[in-house]
Amino acid sequence: MKPPAFEYYCPETLDEALGLLAQYGAEAKVLAGGQSLMPMLNMRLSHPGVVIDINRLPDLNRVTVEGTSLQVGALVRHAELEHSALAATHCPILPAAERLVAHLAIRQRGTVVGSLVHADPAAELPLVWLTLGGELEVRSTRGSRTIAPEAFYLGYFMTDLAPDELAVAVRFERPAAGHGWAIEEFARRSGDFALCAAAAVVEWDAARGVVQGVRLGLGGVGGAPVRLDQAVAPLVGAVPEAELVREVARGVGQYLDPPDDLHASRAFRLHLAEVLSERALRAAVRRAQAKEVQGA
């Protein structure tokens, strides 16, 4: 299990990196954290002619607040977002999700943007990105553009990123202050990819004691994470009674098309989607209400 031979480039400027991507395109693989690419190379499941290591590019390792977003550069490691004070303040679901990503050593090296671009349908970060909303900033010698998560994920490990494009940062929409959030997943062992995961964000109307806005996302239930705006619509403007939450959660299955695979059947995944949706929604509501009590 050793990588096949490839040409290795380690550009020191973004322009240089984009030039290489323009030159080699689909023949090249971008190496950031390497926690997904390197196993593929070691197992020789991938034979890129060229590897472009972006680890020495400047200025891509920052977490910043940009307007209504939390911006995470392409070289920010999972562990850095996990422990980021800015993330804890503005998008507390992100550190919580990071704690579910693989293991200690993997999180030291793997990158947030790398995980988004790798597009494993069971990964936590694409799910959270889709749930929060936001955009990916991508560059190429042709220019730059932003892509929303809804448009980015095309299917199993497939994205809208063109071969000559480099994702340089991701922006996560910051939910309103005082929102409630939750990420619930079911994995066989700590750190495993989830059989199913649910992320929820609830904005609370304290004056009326009703849900003002709600977002629910599910991962591990198909080729890409899914956001269930329609399924959760009955909660908007409603008092989130346990029965209503349960009913909403029971209804998510009709929007999903999970596969049968080695780790779980379609039926079991659909069942988990309901269970975890309910847990995530309840926990998010609880958090939102608790913040109201604290006056947060």
């Binding site: 096949p4 197992m43 079911f186 062992r189 988990l272 269970v275």
Partner: protein
């Protein structure tokens, strides 16, 4: 809750030496020190924790070539042609070899054990015209390094004519497709044993429960993959082979047989070996090929197998299909057990009928089974060959009886604890002849132990906690259950082991043995035995293991045999050394041996303190007239040792997800005279976790085409630290009667009941939630629990989220 971490925390349950030993005890020799039974840290560890271990993959010789293997991508196919020309042109490649290039070498490899009970189906080093499993070696490449070798492997073109594969056991036994055509059947051997009236006795039972039990295929997965480095020392004419093996002498025998070399010209060294668990035994193609190529080419050849190869080409185990009937009386007493089972062999039978036979002789477990009938068939399938994995049939046999007892209890309305009480063999029945026989032909007669006492101590430890756990978990919508199971570990049956003790002029001692460790800590435990029997400081004894050049004869470490065999051999060699040194000292000091006393490394005349010699001085005198001061002993225990034990576990099931958490896991074990409780407990806990893996996480899966579906650690789930429970151990100590030291094997103990006990506990939890379930197959995954919930007619509404 109090957590016991090991024996020292619970001194009351570790009887002082001799305190509760029955049978021939350990204290036959009066010595000043008590190393046997002492909790000691290991002499192995200082090196290993500093990265100074030397494993096979660490061995590198100048000029070595690295071997990589081209493996079959088909489960069943004819090989039309192999084209290595492009590979040969690949950078850094020295050679590409197929079956044709091997000439006479490419004949069936020897079986790993002596087994004349059936005609085996044995693999050749390289597949010549047919492949029978995905992963079977078809060619090898030699190159300057592993990177270049793997480049070349990708360039070897093999033209296959695919054949229909046979994966399922029943289908294979139906012989519609033949794997070994010349044999005319996929059923390679059939056996039966009857105890008492056998199946006929079922007619007298009040209730007969019938089940089809399926045990999943698992992989041993030592953290160090297999590996070999061979070099030919032309000057000495010796082939030197570093091998990650549990049996250096066994491997040497295979090399001698395959290569046709005289035994004295082959040296096998098992350096630090990173775990074995049964899979690093027997003849593997890579070992033979590396040795052959090193010999033929005159250059060192190294193969360091990787994780993928560990999945594709290292023996696997367990898979079997049991059709079982258990007849019981209304009060729960067993009348008869009938088991007809198919043992999956995979594509070949590298270790003979060992696993199936061991399964059969474990069917009675710790219970009185007056009538028993077992028949089993060895069935070839297009899967990785089956060879021993820790337990090697013991867990399977116990799985059958323990699952059936649970089933019978449920049907009778008895508690699962009570039915076991009513069937455990009582102490007054010892020795208890089970009516079964070992492969050696010796009867299986449990010699010592108090099974009910052990089982009751387990029940007493766990039952009170069950309600407490239920209350706490109920508030979170979790269901809680208790499982219990008993076992007898039949170990160290057959063969022998040797030990040589050599005295050095500085008063220290070397001990050589063939039974090398793969983590068990023999350098520590055997030194404890020798130091005690010699009456010298522990620090003055150094154990050297795993080198066929240092001791001519040996067997190896498996079947929980080493402390019984090598331990007694070391004891006897040490005792002989003591006598030799005393005799020499008596001569030197001109007194009778009886007038001497031995204390703290000095031999002196009783009552005459000035008249004394150090051990080193005695050795120096002897060396004036002889080349070496050596004693040696070879020990073979008659029959086997029988270590009883009980496991109990309280689990918590999340009925909404099927997630299982192990809460309290208690183990009772009778290890006989234990040499080092620290290490003994380590063996037992480690084995239990492997058993939990088989129960909940691990299964090698194949698709209908025979493609293995999980060959990485992302898909094949080993137990991890976050999910494993804290174990509590309760010790019993009834010395074995078939060896002077009273040692019992214990290396496999922990894995024997852990599969059954976990399944039982999960069922009990589901029952507590109102879902009747019976798990007839391993592993019990969340998916299986989900299916049971659906089958149990419980809507998920009932399962609180």
């Amino acid at each position: 809750m109090k957590r016991f971490r090991g024996s020292v925390d619970k001194p009351g349950l570790w009887p002082r030496k001799g305190g509760r030993l029955s049978g021939r005890g350990a204290c036959r020799f009066a010595t000043q020190v008590e190393y046997i039974g002492q909790r000691r840290t290991r002499v192995e560890d200082a090196r290993l924790v500093q990265g100074q271990g030397r494993y096979v993959s660490d061995v590198a010789w100048p000029g070595q070539l690295v071997m990589a293997v081209v493996r079959s991508t088909h489960a069943h196919a004819r090989i039309r042609a192999i084209d290595g020309s492009e590979a040969l042109r690949s950078r850094g490649v020295f050679g590409v070899y197929t079956a044709r290039d091997l000439g006479g070498l490419n004949r069936p490899m020897p079986m790993g054990i002596v087994d004349t009970s059936f005609e085996p189906a044995l693999q050749t080093p390289l597949a010549a015209d047919k492949v029978r499993y995905v992963g079977e070696p078809v060619a090898v490449v030699l190159a300057e390094d592993r990177y270049l070798a793997e480049d070349a492997v990708e360039k070897v073109r093999v033209d296959y004519e695919p054949l229909e594969p046979v994966i399922d056991l029943d289908e294979a036994a139906a012989d519609r497709v033949l794997i070994h055509e010349a044999r005319g059947s996929n059923v390679l051997g059939g056996f039966e044993h009857t105890v008492g009236a056998g199946e006929a006795a079922l007619a007298t039972a009040d209730l007969v429960v019938e089940e089809v039990l399926r045990i999943g295929r698992v992989s041993g997965q030592p953290m160090e993959p297999r590996g070999v480095v061979a070099r030919y020392d032309a000057e000495q004419g010796v082939l030197e082979v570093y091998l990650g093996t549990q049996s250096a002498h066994g491997a040497k025998g295979h090399l001698v047989a395959m290569l046709g070399l005289p035994p004295e010209k082959v040296r096998v060294i098992a350096p630090d070996v990173g775990g074995g668990f049964g899979v690093k035994m027997g003849a593997y193609p890579e070992d033979i090929l590396a040795a052959y190529l090193a010999l033929t080419l005159g250059r060192p050849v190294k193969w360091a197998g990787d994780r993928l190869e560990e999945f594709l080409a290292t023996n696997q185990e367990r898979e079997a299909l049991h059709r079982v009937k258990l007849g019981v009386q209304r009060d729960g007493r067993i009348v008869a057990l009938v088991d007809r089972f198919l043992q999956d062999c995979g594509a070949y039978t590298p270790m003979g009928s060992l696993i199936a036979h061991t399964t059969a002789i474990n069917l009675a477990g710790a219970y009185r089974v007056p009538n028993l009938y077992v028949s089993y068939q060895l069935v070839a399938t297009n899967k990785v060959p089956v060879g021993p994995y820790r337990g090697a049939g013991r867990p399977q046999g116990h799985f059958v009886i323990e699952r059936m007892l649970d089933r019978a209890a449920d049907r009778l309305g008895l508690s699962r604890i009570e039915i076991r009480r009513r069937n455990l063999i009582p102490p007054e029945a010892m020795p208890y002849d089970t009516g079964l026989v070992l492969r050696t032909g010796d009867p299986i007669a449990y010699d010592t132990g108090n099974f009910p006492e052990g089982f009751e101590s387990l029940v007493a430890a766990l039952e009170p906690r069950l309600e407490e756990r239920r209350r706490a978990a109920g508030r979170q919508g979790r269901w809680v259950g208790l499982g219990v199971a008993n076992y007898v570990e039949i170990s160290a049956a057959g063969g022998f082991e040797g030990a040589i003790v050599e005295a050095r002029p500085d008063g220290t001692f070397l001990v050589f043995t063939g039974a090398a460790a793969q983590g068990q800590g023999h350098r520590t435990t055997l030194a404890q035995v020798v130091a005690e029997r010699l009456g010298v400081p522990f620090e003055s004894v150094t154990v050297v293991e795993g080198d066929t050049a240092l001791i001519a004869r040996g067997v190896g470490t498996f079947s929980s045999r080493t402390m019984v065999m090598a331990g007694n051999a070391a004891s006897q060699a040490a005792t002989a050394m003591r006598q030799e040194l005393l005799a020499a000292a008596a001569k030197e000091l001109e007194v009778a041996v009886e007038d001497l006393e031995w204390e703290a490394g000095r031999i002196r005349v009783r009552g005459v303190p000035a008249s004394a010699l150090t051990v080193g001085e005695v050795v120096q005198r002897l060396l004036q007239s002889q080349e070496r001061v050596r004693t040696e002993a070879y020990f073979s225990a008659k029959g086997a040792t029988y270590g009883f034990g009980s496991h109990g576990v309280i689990v918590e099931v999340d009925p909404a997800t099927g997630g299982v958490s192990l809460r309290d896991y208690v183990m009772v074990h009778d290890g006989g005279q234990v040499i080092n409780p620290l290490l003994a407990d380590g063996q037992i806990i480690g084995a239990a976790v492997q058993g939990i893996g088989t129960a909940l996480y691990e299964e090698i899966r194949y698709d209908p085409q025979g493609q293995p579906l999980n060959t990485t650690y992302l898909d094949y789930l080993l137990p991890g630290s976050a999910e494993m429970p804290e174990f509590e151990l309760i010790h019993q100590r009834y010395a074995a009667t078939n060896n002077p030291e009273g040692f019992k094997g214990l290396g496999e103990a922990g894995i024997i009941p852990s599969m059954a006990v976990v399944l039982s506990a999960v069922e009990d939890a589901l029952a507590a939630g109102g879902v009747p379930a019976f798990f007839a197959a391993t592993p019990v995954t969340p998916e299986a629990i989900f299916a049971a919930m659906n089958q149990g007619g419980v809507s998920h509404e009932a399962a609180s989220v």
